[in-house]
């Protein structure tokens, strides 16, 4: 039954308008991920205003296509020109660029393409198969369970977001506080409005996302002088050479390991494509058969981060659809697209006959996105890579304009645009003072869900906070949250201890 529903979804994806939207999304995703300073989250943010007048299906297809393509195309500039479009492409410099420099750029691109294809397809298949069972579990969720799920999401986001736990926590608190501005839904009380009329409606999600990820990023780039390394050999012939079947079989363990890591980390909120790419590379370097040769231009060093990054996208999409909980900046924007269309993602989406087709269309579009981005990557590399020649001054002007006009287009309200500037400056200051942006954004997105679940539980249980720890679902989730928070602290203490007592030294007798 689920398979037939998915096939119906494919039929919808292959409708001309949806195909056009998918194609545009893939091109945009590729372009923004190649260009340093833009990135896939900004691509998704900038595309958001164009979804206001679309139906929900093409809207989510567009954003999902950008998300998928954004995890892949950055490898082109990293491998060919040593220009990582995104932080997630940095591991690609170590083996991908090295392989290209050793005279096999086409082979390096071929490995990246195969890795993205396998990671994307396998992870999407696994997650689509898990969607039904996850939905069954999610239907049993009560208020304490929802709160625990949100709490778990926020704690893992904090634990993984930054090198400084303090900055991550403060960033999260700022996001949660932003979500409390306006009139409270239970008591009708004005909170933190300070008499400013535009704050009474609360802060729109679009304002936070576009301001922090869009305008804030451009401001930071302007401060950095908008410098990007110019490619030296733009005229060189770029092609793709696929690995042979024998070569693929030789690295089957790497493929399997990285796909599992990518899919599992995708489910964990906060572990975006960047974290997954680094962890996949790190594990390959630690446990891989040819770990000693990592960094010298071997296929494992290209495959592991690329598989991990692409596989994580499917892992992020399913919790968003089934639980309504975004685990990354890009999925937060996709959630905003759902909400702007009056659709609340959650377990009922799969159960309700009126939304089943919509969900299956989105699931099918994940497969179409993976296949489409690989096809475009194979045939259009030479065209897409030209985006690197656009002067940064022109590009940043266009991005700023998209941010401002896009925000205005939402409600034709100038106050929304003013709020974009406020959050843009906040985003710049966050970047300047090394506060990670993703906990703040996830806090702003998940805050209202968390607060509602918290208030319902407390009111329903006579203010008994132990209710969060005693449920069969909420208890383990809360325990996992504590572990997620404790892990970096424990890790840091261990590192400090190692520094104090280095291996091979004695401390006394």
């Amino acid at each position: 039954m689920a398979f037939i529903n998915l096939m119906h979804g494919f039929v919808q994806v292959f409708q001309p308008f949806n195909m056009l939207v998918l194609f545009i999304g893939l091109l945009v995703g590729m372009a923004v991920s190649i260009m340093p300073g833009l990135g896939l989250v900004m691509g998704v943010v900038l595309a958001l205003p164009f979804t206001y007048r679309m139906a929900i299906e093409p809207s989510v297809i567009l954003l999902t296509a950008i998300y998928f393509a954004g995890t892949y195309a950055g490898c082109f500039s990293a491998i060919l020109y040593r220009i990582p479009g995104e932080p997630m492409d940095v591991p690609m410099l170590w083996d991908g660029y090295t392989m290209a420099r050793r005279g096999a750029p086409a082979k390096a691109l071929g490995w990246a393409l195969v890795a993205a294809l396998i990671g994307g397809l396998v992870s999407s298949t696994v997650m689509v198969a898990l969607a039904g069972p996850m939905s069954e579990v999610a239907l049993k969720f009560d208020s304490p369970d929802y709160f625990a799920a949100v709490f778990f999401g926020l704690t893992t986001a904090v634990a993984l977001a930054s090198k400084s736990m303090v900055n991550s926590l403060i960033s999260l608190c700022v996001g949660l506080l932003v979500s409390t501005i306006g009139i409270d839904s239970i008591y009708g009380t004005e909170r933190f409005t300070f008499g400013v009329p535009i704050l009474r409606d609360g802060v729109q999600l679009v304002e936070v996302l576009v301001g922090m990820y869009g305008l804030g990023e451009v401001l930071a780039r302007i401060g950095q002088g908008l410098r990007i390394q110019q490619p030296q050999e733009m005229t060189q012939k770029v092609g793709t050479q696929f690995p042979t079947l024998r070569e693929l079989i030789a690295i089957r363990i790497t493929l399997l390991r990285s796909t599992i890591i990518g899919t599992l980390l995708g489910i964990v909120p906060g572990a975006g494509a960047t974290v997954t790419a680094f962890i996949s590379y790190g594990i390959e370097k630690q446990y891989g058969r040819r770990r000693q040769a990592m960094g010298t231009g071997i296929p494992e060093g290209i495959v592991a981060p690329q598989v991990g990054a692409t596989a994580s996208v499917a892992g992020h999409m399913i919790p968003l659809l089934i639980l309504g909980l975004p685990g990354s900046g890009a999925t937060a924007v996709i959630l905003a697209a759902f909400l702007l269309h009056g659709v609340q993602p959650g377990p009922m989406l799969l159960e309700d006959p009126s939304t089943t087709l919509m969900v299956n269309t989105i699931l099918a579009s994940m497969f179409a996105s993976v296949l489409g981005m690989c096809l475009l990557g194979f045939f259009w590399i030479r065209v897409v890579i030209k985006v690197l020649t656009v002067p940064q001054g022109i590009l940043s002007a266009i991005v700023v304009l998209f941010c401002l006009v896009g925000a205005y287009a939402n409600r034709s309200s100038m106050s929304d645009v003013w709020m974009i500037v406020v959050f843009g400056v906040l985003g710049y200051l966050f970047e300047k003072f090394k506060f990670p942006i993703s906990p703040m954004v996830l806090g702003a997105v998940l805050g209202p869900i968390g607060e509602t679940a918290f208030m319902r539980t407390m009111i329903g249980n006579g203010n008994d906070w132990t209710a969060f720890f005693t449920g069969s679902i909420s208890g383990p989730l809360m325990a996992a949250s504590v572990l997620a928070l404790a892990y970096p602290l424990f890790h840091r203490l261990l590192a400090a201890r190692r520094r104090t007592h280095p291996v091979g030294t004695t401390t006394g007798h």
Binding site: P36, Y52, R53, P84, E86, L160, S164, M165, V166, L169, I170, C173, V174, L176, L177, I186, Y187, T189, E190, R191, F192, L215, V218, A220, I222, G223, Q224, G225, L226, R227, Q229, T274, V275, G282, P391, Q392, G393, I394, S396, A397, I398, V400, L401, L404, V405, Y408, A409, S412, M414, V421, G424, V425, K432, E451, M455, M458, I459, N463, R492, A496
Partner: protein, 168 residues
């Protein structure tokens, strides 16, 4: 310290929310106060730990070399350019309802390109006209958004362009 001061001020504000108290129920201030408490404790922890270690403590969840970090996030060299950009944006937003979208946007893009170190004046002027026109077309003709037209005599320019685009 700034976070600590801001947190204390907001905690005080949360303490003064006006609502009808229902006995046995937590109020609308409970959730913000929990967040603020967490923020204040975190800020204190940050102050104490940096005072004790003399430096920010970093974890090594993601290990990147300094060279790689510089590629992704180069150091800030022109902070004043950032604030000039913010100032230009504020001026743009103030002028938008008066001189209309097209004229304001052309001027704004030229300013942004200059701040973005694009120093080809003729090409910048031509590009800014083309970009402003493209945005106007995209949002008014394709996405059906009513962009600010300005006041007379500037609105005449907006109307002329709308007629040229076939927007009514």
């Amino acid at each position: 310290m700034l976070v600590l001061a801001g947190g204390l001020y907001l905690y005080h504000a949360a303490d003064n929310f006006e609502y009808e108290d229902v006995s046995g129920r937590i109020g609308p201030d409970a959730w913000p106060k929990i967040i603020l408490f967490l923020m204040l404790v975190t800020a204190l922890w940050g102050i104490v730990s940096s005072a004790m270690s003399g430096d920010a403590v970093a974890s090594d969840v993601i290990v990147e070399s300094e060279q790689d970090v510089a590629l992704i996030s180069p150091p800030e060299i022109h902070p004043w350019l950032v604030w000039l950009t913010v100032g230009s944006t504020l001026a743009y937003l103030l002028l938008l309802p008066i001189i209309g979208f097209f004229i304001a946007t052309v001027t704004f893009i030229v300013a942004l390109m200059y701040l973005g170190q694009y120093r080809k004046p003729v090409r910048a002027a031509m590009l800014s006209v083309a970009i402003a026109f493209a945005f106007m077309f995209l949002f008014m003709r394709v996405v059906y958004v009513a962009l600010p037209l300005g006041i007379p005599p500037f609105e005449d320019v907006s109307y002329a362009l709308m007629t040229a685009m076939g927007v009514h």
